[in-house]
Symmetry: C2
Subunit: 426 residues, 2 copies
Amino acid sequence: MTEFSVLPPEELQAIKTGLLKRYTAICDRELSLDITRGKPSPEQLDLSAGLLETVDARDYTSSAGTDCRNYGGLDGLPEVRQLFAEYMGVRPEEIIIGGNSSLNLMYDTFLRAMVHGLGASHTPWCREPQLKFICPSPGYDRHFAICEQLGIEMIPVDMTDDGPDMDAVESLAAADEAIKGIWCVPLYSNPTGAIYSDDTVDRLARMTTRAADFRIFWDNAYAVHYLGERPGRVRSILEACKAAGCPERPFLFGSTSKITFPGAGLAMIAGSATNMEWVRSHLFFQTIGPDKLNQLRHVRFLKNMDGILAHMEKHAAVIRPRFQVVEDVLNTELAGKGIAAWTRPEGGYFVSFDAPDGCARTVVKMAADAGVKLTPAGATYPLRNDPCDSNIRIAPTFASIEDVRTAVEVLAICTQIAAIDQLGAV
Amino acid sequence: MTEFSVLPPEELQAIKTGLLKRYTAICDRELSLDITRGKPSPEQLDLSAGLLETVDARDYTSSAGTDCRNYGGLDGLPEVRQLFAEYMGVRPEEIIIGGNSSLNLMYDTFLRAMVHGLGASHTPWCREPQLKFICPSPGYDRHFAICEQLGIEMIPVDMTDDGPDMDAVESLAAADEAIKGIWCVPLYSNPTGAIYSDDTVDRLARMTTRAADFRIFWDNAYAVHYLGERPGRVRSILEACKAAGCPERPFLFGSTSKITFPGAGLAMIAGSATNMEWVRSHLFFQTIGPDKLNQLRHVRFLKNMDGILAHMEKHAAVIRPRFQVVEDVLNTELAGKGIAAWTRPEGGYFVSFDAPDGCARTVVKMAADAGVKLTPAGATYPLRNDPCDSNIRIAPTFASIEDVRTAVEVLAICTQIAAIDQLGAV
């Protein structure tokens, strides 16, 4: 395949004519496809069908004999904390299980920091003159949305294959006391699929921060969500921070949203025993306790780490072909043309696609006109502002394989048309 | 029965000797009884056993065909909103269903007010120089705890049989712009069992408030939790506020914690469409959505308002004898002695007991020494400060009938001993 940039204008024009023909034919099909959100498919949800039958009218007590139907147990059933401590790589006293949404736990942590400050010795964030957060980009739109809602200025830093650009992160954190933390998705990062290297983890733990209450929000959303042979490994941020003498620096988050059920899974927050005591002291005012029946369902269904890994292998079998079709179509349509780049993730829920600079918005718009909904251009950047206007997130899990194929084909066609237009061939 | 205060000292002494004998005999039994919390008994929880079998591996879609296992639906399944709108006496667009804890919804509402203010036109509470809340007392300790944690000064006003002393409430609200709201449990109030009169509701709706963002936190925790023939009725605070031209004044809260399962029920917030839009705009940043499977279980199990009422009749049948035994023991032990007063609630979860002024702490301590755990003296007042040191909350639902009988007997014995000691007979 020859790069578009070296082709003569008349050849580009001929290619474009062919592409427009395909585009028009697709428009005529009046498609309505959506590959915007990282949502498991019904086929994946069926894998957890058994979860709904582990608790019934006669069987609702925990291993310690707790009646899970009644009040109590602020931080989760002991056996559930045990299981997910192993899952999160922490000790049972370093985790709290609650609610169905890790986003909720992150948001609540921000709100506690705003109103109360992080522990007794720190000023409530709402009394600080300025608040900033380091936002590795492209990243997760819901993380950025929390900062935006709370008026926290977002400082983007580039993502590399090893995690955020640590030179940039270190110099920012060391220089500005308004910088209160950093968002991290350490494994199969949303959307690039990056896996934080050991060096990245160690530097995050060891770096000097001007703000004494600097926090790492470690959203380990895809801890076991692998597509390859086995889950990737990321060094323990909590252990690294303990070793570096700042055990309170990281808050870890996880959930079973993409293990069991997105709407009815379990969410968890982890960190140092001191941090968990702080969370517990706030939870006491907020709730009498979590839904222990749903916790019981989960521990009975998943059983142990081996059970979780075996279950995730089934997920991988369902979604692997969808990722493969993304790679196949992009490769067939775009390889060697010098106009696009994309990731080949080993896990997680996304492929990160880079159209030519300045083209993402156009491509997303053209695809929408052809009935294919893509994540809005810019969504992966703070304030929806992709400085290059090039990144597009592909979420291939929910749609059928055929729909993914068609949607990505449309993306590829639109990208080529936009690229040719930009080369000024027309 | 003769009032203690008119008995000669030697007769009181003889009575006390008898009481001490009984007290010692009870101590010798080494009891471990607990009537501190408003917790349903296992027998009550069994009434909802069927709830756990309404959703299974093959049956998880809402009436509109939504797969309840997956993400989505920020404000609850439509059929669930429909049912609980009727339950709360509001329209479906005036309610949001989320989580398992109404306390959590109350707490989050406070935190949103602290950080963002109540709607665009109001100052975040955290920027106000002073914050105060009207706290009808005795009241619910968890309400007071939220104010305490957030540094909101609590202004107690007396509870009457018709609700809070409205003369006091009106003059406070009209005079002080730091007063941002009032806590209310309108039906079978915790702990007195009071039912707000129509006049109380109307005055709360119509009263002038110095604070433009004054809010009524209307915790309708016991909306259908009756012990008599049928549920009591309280005039709609939302309709009253609409009629008075301040539809944004009330936030209504409810839950199925004491209808189905305390740990695994549904919680709800209701209010004007404008207020619900405000809540939704915050929820968007906080979560992707609630546990719809548990919502589906509830609507399938409870079906409709008739279903809820029929179900509550079964609850009443279980707890009525416990309340009856409280009344019987207190009546047998204390009637006519002029040393105690107590409520005979028509619903709810508590009996409010008044020992002689200055004696509650002593009574609770003596009962604890005899192995009977009562709600700490003062717990029903802001900052745990009962100015008369007389109120004790009795929660008879969880313990067995025999245990309730024994516990209340201990309470009555201790009250008499404390009263005699106070009369100076010894």
